[in-house]
């Protein structure tokens, strides 16, 4: 914990004026986040400045941008660097996670921001990354250049820690200036990252503005938003709808709404010698991000017909969840979350007494619950580390039971069923699933993954053609 228990959640360009009036919000009993008073901050002037300053980053070779980002990433992984400790100290109270979880997330995320990984990312996405710097010959008669929008506004409400920095890096690789509102749960890393980038190169003190405001209470005026090239929005359907309402139709909104993660456990993974290992992998995928990621499984369908029956396997899964309480403990529950846990324990306990075949296994510290329910209907809990487990006769029928969640599906993790995986994936594409993976990889998609089926930089830039002209 930081000694003063306050984090200044803003990093504005050098030339901009930060208002003297600051607001603050308590994220835990002894930690608060401070941010500029939204009304006192001149957003119009800030947007104008970011647009004017964009020329600075536009003239910087992408390789240099990658190097600067890579150096900050190395600092976040360096156990002797104070930046790493500040990041961890602020992540814990703001994201409501345990110190061990903060370390796991920081390690996992930073690995995606290294020079090597980002170089690979731009090579994968653009084949010739120089297309980000200048016109490059792409075929006979034509050269092409990738031109990132002058100003990218990213609204990171409702994201897990690190997602904000990934969005920020994408904008910078395309040489866009960026105005970012991080979500309160992901406020630490984008601000610290922007600050550290500013120490690497003054360009990042011109083109970057990161600051928190309460999106439910304050809105940027439409006339200011008209100057933004693209808006990237993360959050609930309601938050995203509200952002779309604020933006004029001319501006594209790239949205990433909340998603429902699902796990499928095939009978091959339930042999007596594999059941425990399967349970440990599944438990880890649930516990990572305290089950708050769009990639986190919220419900498991476990196939019948293996050596270990689904109703018995849940006990093995429960042991796996309890073991993680030592290795990767859950964060401190908020009052609201504690109430949610009390509700689910009592409600499922009552349902169990009703002879419904429901079973509930609970953590000794109330930090997790595994609920086995014979009813097959799709269902999940609002609480962290609470998983519904349902039996299914054949994983090939998963499409039918998951269909009601069509609007929200994204990642499906599968254990076992390797010979059937492609057929299952093919059927799931019809109901909106855009990623089928293993439980081990589920929480950690590669930097070039297709989030909600979109390519990494889709919608964030324009392709400029230079056609050969015969004089």
């Amino acid at each position: 914990m930081m000694s003063n228990g306050v984090f200044d959640a803003y990093q504005l360009p050098d030339e901009s004026e930060c208002p003297e009036r600051l607001n603050s919000v308590n994220v835990s009993e002894d930690f608060s986040v401070r941010y500029p008073n939204f009304r006192a901050l001149n957003k119009d002037a800030l947007v104008k400045l970011l647009i004017e300053n964009n020329v600075a980053i536009k003239s910087m070779p992408v390789s240099e941008i990658i190097q600067a980002i890579g150096r900050v990433s190395e600092r976040l992984m360096d156990k002797d660097d104070p930046l790493r400790y500040e990041a961890l100290d602020v992540m814990v109270p703001t994201a409501g996670i345990s110190p061990q979880m903060a370390e796991t997330i920081l390690a996992g995320m930073s690995a995606d921001w290294t020079e090597k990984t980002l170089t690979e990312l731009v090579e994968r996405e653009f084949t010739n990354p120089k297309i980000l710097d200048s016109f490059q010959r792409i075929d006979s008669g034509r050269s092409q250049m990738v031109y990132g929008f002058t100003l990218n506004l990213t609204v990171g409400s409702g994201t897990v820690p690190g997602v904000g920095v990934t969005a920020l890096i994408r904008a910078l690789l395309l040489k866009s200036s960026i105005l970012m509102k991080p979500g309160l749960g992901d406020v630490a890393l984008p601000v610290l990252f922007a600050r550290a980038l500013g120490e690497e190169n003054e360009v990042f003190r011109k083109c970057l503005a990161v600051f928190y405001w309460d999106g439910a209470k304050e809105r940027i005026e439409r006339k200011t938003l008209e100057k933004v090239g693209v808006v990237v929005a993360y959050g609930s359907d309601d938050s995203i709808r509200s952002i779309r309402d604020q933006v004029s139709r001319k501006t594209d909104v790239i949205s990433y709404s909340h998603r429902l993660g699902v796990g499928l456990v095939g009978r091959e993974a339930l042999s007596e010698d594999k059941a425990r290992e399967t349970a440990q992998e599944v438990a880890m995928s649930i516990a990572t991000f305290d089950q708050r990621g769009c990639v986190s499984p919220q419900v498991l369908y476990v196939e019948q017909g293996g050596q270990v029956a689904p109703e018995d396997w849940v006990q093995v899964l429960a042991s796996g969840m309890e073991e993680l309480e030592e290795q990767l403990p859950a964060g401190v529950l908020s009052q609201e979350e504690t109430i949610g846990v009390q509700q689910i324990h009592a409600a499922i306990g009552l349902k169990q007494l009703g002879g419904t075949g429901v079973q509930i296994y609970k953590g000794t510290r109330k930090s997790w619950a595994v609920i086995f329910e014979p009813e097959i209907a799709l269902k999940w809990s609002d609480c962290r580390r609470v998983i519904y487990v349902k039996p299914i006769t054949d994983l090939m029928t998963a499409k039918t039971v998951l269909a009601p969640g069509e609007d929200y599906l994204q990642t499906v993790a599968i254990a076992g069923a390797s010979s059937r995986k492609e057929d299952i994936a093919t059927s799931l594409t019809q109901i909106g699933v855009t990623r089928v993976t293993s439980f081990q990889q589920a929480p950690w998609p590669k930097p070039w993954w297709h989030h909600d089926g979109r390519s990494v930089f889709q919608g964030l830039f324009e392709l400029i053609d230079l056609e050969d002209v015969v004089d």
């Binding site: 919000v25 308590n26 986040v33 994201a95 409501g96 409702g158 994201t159 897990v160 997602v163 979500g183 309160l184 749960g185 309460d214 999106g215 439910a216 209470k217 993360y234 959050g235 609930s236 359907d237 309601d238 938050s239 709808r241 509200s242 909340h258 998603r259 429902l260 089950q291 708050r292 990621g293 769009c294 986190s296 919220q298 908020s334 009052q335 609201e336 504690t338 109430i339 949610g340 009390q342 509700q343 689910i344 009592a346 409600a347 499922i348 306990g349 009552l350 349902k351 007494l353 009703g354 002879g355 419904t356 209907a377 799709l378 999940w380 809990s381 609002d382 609480c383 009601p404 969640g405």
Partner: protein, 362 residues
């Protein structure tokens, strides 16, 4: 019969809280009934060491969490005879909605009429303008049912519903309805959810319209903003409503209720004459409801004045569960009813899982 005894009690004029002994006497009878007629609840109570043989007070009755209504039917009595099933709002994905199976609508009606008569109809019979869907079109909404009952039994059929089947406010029709009461000079009870009122106020602002409702008119606001993208301070909404309808802020009454509980609480607002300061006087239950505030971690009862999770004991819930453990945080104040604690400082959503959609969004 217990239901008839309760209906008689609900029908008596409200003069203040019943004595603890009178409430406990009926509450224990309700508990005994529910213990006998709901086997799962009987086991649940027994596991908590409470049976009809050892129960001492209403405070001993084990509460059923509101989430249980989402999990399976909570029915004390014969399950095949529900007269209505009211559903909680929730995600559109089927089984996430809670259901309250109502075995006897007459008991529910008695609770609604007894309570609303006391708060809104003691001195007059206002026309009811309801900013909700018609109960015929929305049979699973307990709020629509409640206002339908008030319209028929208390407003003698004068008034109507002004939200369409598409769940949108029927603006023109509502303007006409309010203009009519304006010209008739008959007082009105204008009732709706806080969120619907926000839309109404925004629309009136855009249109540049306002009303001068007849004297003694009142507004009843219910609901709150949980899970909505737009949050405006309650007092701002009240002031806008008062200004746009030509009434005082003190003519706005707030209702607190939930689908899982058949009785409602009401809160008056006063404007202090000297300072002009607005004070909310606390949500008061009818005499057939009592509440405890419980420690969030241990669920042990807390003394008056301490903040915790609210647990209500509602005798009108005879056919389901009278003791309801809510997800609401509040404080019971001495003689002033309940003060609800709203959105917590820093309670913005965390994460991007769909499970977060049910929490506050920012």
């Amino acid at each position: 019969m217990l239901a008839a005894e309760l209906m008689r009690s609900f029908g008596e004029p409200i003069t203040g809280p019943w004595s603890d002994a009178a409430f406990s006497n009926l509450a224990v009878k309700v508990f005994e009934y529910q213990y006998k007629n709901n086997p799962a609840y009987a086991k649940y109570s027994k596991n908590r060491g409470v049976t009809p043989l050892n129960i001492q007070s209403w405070k001993d009755i084990p509460p059923v969490p509101t989430l249980a209504f989402k999990e399976f039917p909570i029915i004390s009595g014969s399950s095949g005879v529900a007269e209505a099933v009211f559903k909680t709002s929730g995600t559109s994905l089927g089984n996430q909605q809670g259901e309250h199976h109502i075995l006897s609508l007459s008991l529910y009606r008695a609770s609604i009429v007894g309570s609303m008569k006391h708060h809104f109809y003691s001195e007059q019979r206002p026309t009811l303008i309801a900013l909700v869907r018609d109960p015929i079109e929305s049979p699973s909404s307990s709020l629509s049912f409640m206002l339908g009952e008030a319209l028929n039994s208390l407003s003698m059929g004068r008034g109507g519903f002004y939200v369409g089947q598409d769940n949108r406010i029927q603006y023109e029709k509502l303007v006409n309805g309010l203009r009519k009461v304006e010209s008739d000079g008959v007082s009105v009870l204008f009732a709706g959810t806080a969120f619907a009122f926000v839309h109404w106020v925004d629309w009136l602002d855009q249109q540049g319209l306002y009303f001068q409702l007849p004297e003694s008119s009142q507004i009843m606001e219910t609901g709150g903003f949980k899970g909505r993208s737009r949050v405006i301070p309650r007092l701002d909404l009240y002031e806008a409503l008062a200004n746009l309808h030509g009434i005082s802020v003190s003519s706005i009454v707030s209702e607190y209720g939930m689908t899982e509980m058949l009785s409602q609480f009401y809160e008056k607002t006063v404007v202090e004459a000297e300072t002009g300061k607005v004070r909310h006087l606390g949500y008061r239950p009818p005499p057939w409801v009592r509440s405890l505030v419980l420690n969030v971690d241990t669920l042990a009862p807390l003394p008056v004045g301490k903040e915790g999770v609210l647990c209500h004991f509602d005798l009108a819930n005879l056919g389901s569960a009278m003791a309801i453990l809510t997800e609401d945080v509040g404080v019971v104040t001495e003689g002033e009813g309940i003060r609800l604690v709203g959105r917590l400082d820093g309670a913005e959503e965390r994460g991007c899982s769909l499970a977060m959609n049910d929490f506050h969004s920012d």
